[in-house]
Amino acid sequence: MTKEFDTEQLAKEYRDKSPQEILALALEHFDTAAISFSGAEDVVLVDMASRIRPDFKVFSLDTGRLHPETYRLFEQVRKHYKVDIDVLSPDKEAVEQLVREKGLFSFYEDGHKECCGIRKVAPLRKKLATLDAWITGQRKDQSPGTRADVPVVEKDIAFSTPDHSLIKFNPLSFWSSAQVWQYIRENDVPYNELHTKGFVSIGCEPCTRPVLPNQHEREGRWWWEEATMKECGLHAGNIKQQTG
């Protein structure tokens, strides 16, 4: 059972608070809140949650195309924190139809969204329909091209329905990658071996590659897609402001 939750007010109030305080707000307010763990730097959320509420919940999206290193991390985290990870699989028939019609690497030709939709978003949507709140490791600095802010708490418009309101927490929103890694080292948090091989952002194996020093992590994902395909914004800098 949840009390009234004013996301706009709380987003302002918690903007400058620590990830642990934001996470505590989520876990203490929502019994069904769950952490979305991708097998990358968001492992810090699992560590933080384990210190706040022993019965915290975690789920992961197994697209079927993850790196072996990521599967190994899931297992390591499960044992290390003694937590059951709800590993979600995509709909078998939908995957089979996609592969039958378009092959195993259609994303290199058609873009990643169709495959991500089936392997990631559909099981995510199904899972989120059972929760009142979810917690992500999204950070504002992960996608500098996106103008949208990443509030520390928000109503999840993408997955809320008229009958089901969903709250999304992004406790790491204002942390940098450097702060995440400082936490990992200081707290001896298990991490994905791929990070030692030059990977920063980690997704599915065919769609993720290591980046060079000073390359943005975004360049390690869907690099074959033009920047313009990833961006549908109206560029405000080109818009003459009306006056008067």
Binding site: A122, V150, C232
Partner: protein, 111 residues
């Protein structure tokens, strides 16, 4: 009811891929005729009608739909699925819904 679709022309003069795609989806669903007017937001021309509408309604993505009804405030839709459901009163397929979620939530790339 007057429905306008605002499409973007990019700074290099090429059409916005997403706008084209939404146009094709409307066409294949037999809903193209429900759009009364197409307005261009040309990034090379800040005075173009679409760019000015974007400023007026503080919209930062394309395409978007402007729905005008007599005696009511104009409504803006940037999420195609919502426009489809609330204005055209049509349910999209699951495949379209999933794609639209990804299109409108680029942050999901990092989940």
């Amino acid at each position: 009811m007057q429905i306008s679709m605002v499409k973007k022309i990019k700074a290099d003069g090429s059409p916005c891929r997403k706008c084209q795609e939404v146009g094709e989806r409307l066409k294949s669903a037999g809903l193209e005729d429900r759009i009364n007017r197409v307005i261009i937001a040309d990034e090379r021309e800040p005075d173009s009608e679409g760019m000015q509408l974007a400023v007026q309604y503080q919209i930062d993505r394309a395409p978007f739909f402007l729905v005008e009804e007599e005696g009511q405030e104009p409504r803006i839709y940037t999420v195609y699925m919502r426009f489809l459901k609330e204005v055209l009163q049509t349910e999209a397929s699951e495949e379209e819904q999933l794609k639209d979620i990804l299109d409108s939530s680029p942050d999901l790339d990092y989940i």
